[in-house]
Symmetry: D3
Subunit: 314 residues, 6 copies
Amino acid sequence: MSKGVLQYDVGEQVELFLLIKSATKGIASNGKPFLTLILQDKSGDIEAKLWDASNDDEKNYVAQNIVKVMGDIQNYRGRSQLKIRQIRPSSQVDQVKLADFIETAPVSREEMTSKLTQYIFEMKNPNIQRITRHLIKKYQNEFLEYPAATKNHHEFVSGLAFHVISMLDLAKSIASLYPSLDKDLLYAGVILHDLGKVVELSGPISTVYTIEGNLLGHITIMVNEIGKAADELNIAGEEVMILQHLVLSHHGKAEWGSPKPPLIKEAEILHYIDNIDAKMNMLDRALERVKPGEFSERIFALDNRSFYKPVFHK
Amino acid sequence: MSKGVLQYDVGEQVELFLLIKSATKGIASNGKPFLTLILQDKSGDIEAKLWDASNDDEKNYVAQNIVKVMGDIQNYRGRSQLKIRQIRPSSQVDQVKLADFIETAPVSREEMTSKLTQYIFEMKNPNIQRITRHLIKKYQNEFLEYPAATKNHHEFVSGLAFHVISMLDLAKSIASLYPSLDKDLLYAGVILHDLGKVVELSGPISTVYTIEGNLLGHITIMVNEIGKAADELNIAGEEVMILQHLVLSHHGKAEWGSPKPPLIKEAEILHYIDNIDAKMNMLDRALERVKPGEFSERIFALDNRSFYKPVFHK
Amino acid sequence: MSKGVLQYDVGEQVELFLLIKSATKGIASNGKPFLTLILQDKSGDIEAKLWDASNDDEKNYVAQNIVKVMGDIQNYRGRSQLKIRQIRPSSQVDQVKLADFIETAPVSREEMTSKLTQYIFEMKNPNIQRITRHLIKKYQNEFLEYPAATKNHHEFVSGLAFHVISMLDLAKSIASLYPSLDKDLLYAGVILHDLGKVVELSGPISTVYTIEGNLLGHITIMVNEIGKAADELNIAGEEVMILQHLVLSHHGKAEWGSPKPPLIKEAEILHYIDNIDAKMNMLDRALERVKPGEFSERIFALDNRSFYKPVFHK
Amino acid sequence: MSKGVLQYDVGEQVELFLLIKSATKGIASNGKPFLTLILQDKSGDIEAKLWDASNDDEKNYVAQNIVKVMGDIQNYRGRSQLKIRQIRPSSQVDQVKLADFIETAPVSREEMTSKLTQYIFEMKNPNIQRITRHLIKKYQNEFLEYPAATKNHHEFVSGLAFHVISMLDLAKSIASLYPSLDKDLLYAGVILHDLGKVVELSGPISTVYTIEGNLLGHITIMVNEIGKAADELNIAGEEVMILQHLVLSHHGKAEWGSPKPPLIKEAEILHYIDNIDAKMNMLDRALERVKPGEFSERIFALDNRSFYKPVFHK
Amino acid sequence: MSKGVLQYDVGEQVELFLLIKSATKGIASNGKPFLTLILQDKSGDIEAKLWDASNDDEKNYVAQNIVKVMGDIQNYRGRSQLKIRQIRPSSQVDQVKLADFIETAPVSREEMTSKLTQYIFEMKNPNIQRITRHLIKKYQNEFLEYPAATKNHHEFVSGLAFHVISMLDLAKSIASLYPSLDKDLLYAGVILHDLGKVVELSGPISTVYTIEGNLLGHITIMVNEIGKAADELNIAGEEVMILQHLVLSHHGKAEWGSPKPPLIKEAEILHYIDNIDAKMNMLDRALERVKPGEFSERIFALDNRSFYKPVFHK
Amino acid sequence: MSKGVLQYDVGEQVELFLLIKSATKGIASNGKPFLTLILQDKSGDIEAKLWDASNDDEKNYVAQNIVKVMGDIQNYRGRSQLKIRQIRPSSQVDQVKLADFIETAPVSREEMTSKLTQYIFEMKNPNIQRITRHLIKKYQNEFLEYPAATKNHHEFVSGLAFHVISMLDLAKSIASLYPSLDKDLLYAGVILHDLGKVVELSGPISTVYTIEGNLLGHITIMVNEIGKAADELNIAGEEVMILQHLVLSHHGKAEWGSPKPPLIKEAEILHYIDNIDAKMNMLDRALERVKPGEFSERIFALDNRSFYKPVFHK
């Protein structure tokens, strides 16, 4: 695989196709317009300034377009910046496509779908199984495409499904060590816990919160959906309320967004499984970019801590 | 009206019919069984001990039964206690009935129903009006009978409806002073905000939390109900989500049980209206029992504060 | 009314008289001096840079002067900025005056004075009435001119009086719904609660904290003043202490600046009246600038929340 | 000095004159009245039960009376209790007096007065000196008699003056190590900081909070007094406000009762001097009763910590 | 296995050998001495009162002795109590021994030792392996006998080793799902994290905190021990500091007793493994005693929550 | 002494030798490299920009070099900045040396060493004395050179020793007022409390945290060192644990980095002595730069407060 834009060091020259993540017009101190471009490929994103931007530039360089850029990696206030020497829109002959520039889960959709199907298949309680299957079916496409969050962890295409698949494997191995745990509840809890994100968030790329996401949130959205699913499937057992409770309580505490704390054993463990998988994802991605004997960048969602990679970790 | 059990002073002798609120068996240090009875009438409740309880006593003196008691009001560790001299079960000839012993709202159901109807009638937005009317109709009986809480404020029969009616009047007068407020949203928010309590709580007397109340809570329950009502009524506008948000956010903060804080002007004001009415209810009931120049008992739900009644408040 | 500076969109050209709120000298990266001007009219204020400022410019363009400006509204880091093309000091022939550029309460002083007089007149307790009248008389001019705060809410000329007048109306309507409330205490509490701001703050425009404001604060200042007023008026009843308590406790909690929490029923309600009126003022001003279906700017004093205006609010 | 009631071990028999601190009537499980007496001498206080109390007993054994008691020290739920065998009121021939039973400061009033006079005499700033002298003179008797608190620290007769005297010595030695400190401010701050307690508390024995103490608190009371003193003495300099600030801020933080934190260097140090002296008093009194190698009782005002006395502290 | 004392219902009569966990003398209201005995077997402990205790009783019935008791299970203030009808000390002929009455880990020491040996054997980094082996060897006996805590979780004989063994299995399965984790660090962290408890606590039964436990705590104790072990083994690599950091940070946050939060990936995960295993232990033990459709007792170390067992959990 | 760079006002021209504290390369908006230099002398440090930096400039102007600069003091966004007109590296003939540019303690090393020796000499407990002497000897050079912190207080060469010496004097005078305090423990606690900083920090200038400092912290480091010292000196008494506790607890609370709060009287007082000396240092340095009647800059480590210097403080 060719080198991504974030893998160049300060001082190096780059010549790359990059996707415009966002473009904002500004006015320089000399009174002329310029564009602040956020450019990305799978390695991440970098800021670039296009000075003395013409009207054509403003039209050509907008979010979701792909450009060919030649320039230098520079250090600006401690962060990398790309100084543009030449830039042009990509054309058909360049044979580049959106998917080449966007980070996605390291597992294929087919594989994720098949794993998910298997876990649902293993459920023994028919009420739990039917509700879970119904909701996954209803939101299948979005589930396989959406990120798990706008930032912090699994914030990439298919991040939600990837997060769920990893959590399912973790749930399985914990349940085998603590056999009193109800696997059906754990699996259903894992699958449904963040499914409301497909309504809370705007989509797989340039992801923002929807109005419903802001006013109700993914937890409330999915608790409602479980209720409706049960109605449609004519299911009346206590399982409905328990599934709603699993989703409702999975943030663990009121101040973290769960109006009820976990009051079922599996709800308590679901909260931990969610945490471990999210944190491993953040830690691995942060430490990947760090050499042994160094500290990582501060990770906001981990209380702004900076993690150390021991020198004996080659 | 005759004097209630709480209106007697320490040292006075009483002879009253009282309702048994709860009865618990214990074993005295001499090894003999005794009953701890909580006895109540409309003035409140008091503890009493029935020493050397026989098997018959255990059967006769159970919750919800009415008894005739003769005894003395005593002080035990700073709280009043009723020392029983004589006790007997009431019989038909006594012509006493449950309703005589239970505190209820000071306004009749008819009056409350008519006020409520009027407020719903005044709504101009048909979506808001139809959802509100649908849900009030669905839970009309419970709404008119349930307390607003198990303790703290409006913890009496019909307390929920009484709380809502008072809040509606307050909402109306605030909306007339701040005309930018949407009265429809305010009225609907007031009517629906605590309606989930008819599922969260067990009933109008000896009220406890239901399992659904513990695991989901009245906020989540009613948010779900609004969604279902909209489905049944085939209503799809943004009003549905806004009504859900009003209920969802009415506790004001995550740590007080609202997973989203108020993000609509009327939601913010609803929170204040709820607070003012609940606090006025608690304050009036606490200060009623206090003489000018004295402090009230500590009020748990008001940060355990003890309030002062000025000497010039005759 | 003509269009204010904040009502222009980015890209539009303006030609306006504006008041200089503040002027700060800086040195550009080319070594030449420039001025950062904050320019305002009744619609609000905007930043402007005057590059290559001469000595004359420094003398002409100082706070409280009025200037004629021609320029463009631009976007700089997400905030509007005014790019100055031409600027000149205003002169007598321009016939512009300070008052044209400063936001003031939407009610005239006469009207506010007359309302205030009426509320004081309605008081029945002579001690409460005399102390209130004495203090309002002592600080009448400042009371009618000062803002209620340096920022957040009612931060405009006569904001303090306007806040008090609105609160009095709210107090009246709440007291009529909850007749156990002592109107005299409520009215006096409303009138005196923030009166210490006339000492805490520097004046009606370019408002900052005084040294006494910083070291003692408006609450302590007014509690002292009530004590002195009682001495001068030879009033000795418990009303003095109660009025001091109302002022002392009106922030509600120690961490919000009240060394004692409300311990009188009217003090508790005063705190809510203050909150509702301040929040309605902030909410109305923030939502005024927002279209249906959009979120407002974040409001710092409302926990940094961004409020939504429903699409059905035309 | 003879052995005090707290110096007896469980199992020992006592025959002592003791002061009744409080007497409360109760009804035993056999229906007969009894008295709970809190009896004290200089060593501390102990609970005693007087079973089968007659009407005469109720009249004889009331707070502030002195009794002769014979009985046994017993352990009841981990605390010492005095089992009364014989009790009788004291009479003139017993030649006992109140002062013999009440803990007081270990320094005489004369000595404290003379120290105080000396510190005031050393002040160089006449405004600070005159205000301090005026207020000490106004409250001289109470200052020399009151405790510094109802519990926690210096909760004995003359505790307030003793606390102030110790703090003055500490202030002097700190000021000599950090010569930038203004001794006048430190001394005046120490002398005035808790002087409001003579209004906040009810008196030297059986001390409770007054209504004014509850509604305003000693800080607000003394800040007002400083203002009035300045008026009476016709002093107008900044010293008045600074002295008010010293008293206002001496609790250090809003949540500890100071609406303004220390904003003057001497205010910051005053807060520390107050803390050190109060804590040394609590620690010495708690550790006095502990043997080397043991932990003290939990000390509520020190975050409920239990302190260890090292074995090498003989 | 025969029925344990906690498996009897209120009202049932018992005749059992029980171990005296503690014995405290008191004086009854009739002036006669009595003993409060805490009696236990493997099912848990129960309070019993022995009235009118003779001198012989005081000598016979002391902690660690075994008694034969006949009596009734009663309810006293909501908790079970054993009313003693007959009691006698056990003698040789009874053939009962301490170990029969004390809860121990459900896995044998041999099995635990062998598992531990295997995990240490699997370590690849010699420095980590040698330090871990050295410390386990040094404290082997205590490690296999001590509880993991005085209460809350794993508070039984060999609880510490059992907790560590379970955590090792969990660590292994998590590490196999997240291969970037360093197994050596995880295993060593698990083995050493609570090893300081063998100094912090007094022993396997009637466990209390030692003075060193109170003043330094198990975290500090073990961090010191790792330093000393490295010195003795002449190991100087960064592994020493990393192991100290793993132990130091395993409580996760300063306010939970870790002066440094986890700053190594494995330290973060260690904290979660510790939590999951401790919580599963508490949850399983609490829910064991609960029927489907009921709530457990409140669990103090789980934020005082009461957990629900769904009705479909047979 | 000649005027330091911070003593010049905005607008003044300077010609000074200055030490480069740090140098960072950037790229200007015209694409050319520039250097951001932080330049310092004993009066403090100031930022300067060197535009159009050549390769030679990059090599000449690096941290720890001394330069001769001619330029102007300007105001940039409210902070002073030095506009460079001319700059050159210093050479031997300039006869300037590092020590001339670095702030150091106002007391000589000899004087500090002699004071320290005297205090250790005064200790009576041989165990405490030997451990203290051993550790001071081990780290003598670093102890005399290191700052007490990277910022906030005593952040200058020899700041650690100066802080300790001042605290010793304060400890002595407090102990003489409260004779129950153990002077040996107080002195040893003062001397050892921050000694771990010689490992936690990188050195006397350009001070940053070491990896060990980040992962273990100075408290843990010194607690370990005390243990090792005791081993080496063959000391086994309780004094070892008590000294470790003094260091461990000196931050006062878990959330401030002490896993155990002070549980020894001298530990509690040590915490206060540390606080007073650190705060006096910060306050004196902040108020030095302020005129009477003005407020200081905000002091981050004092809760971001801005302190007032009274007008009567000439």
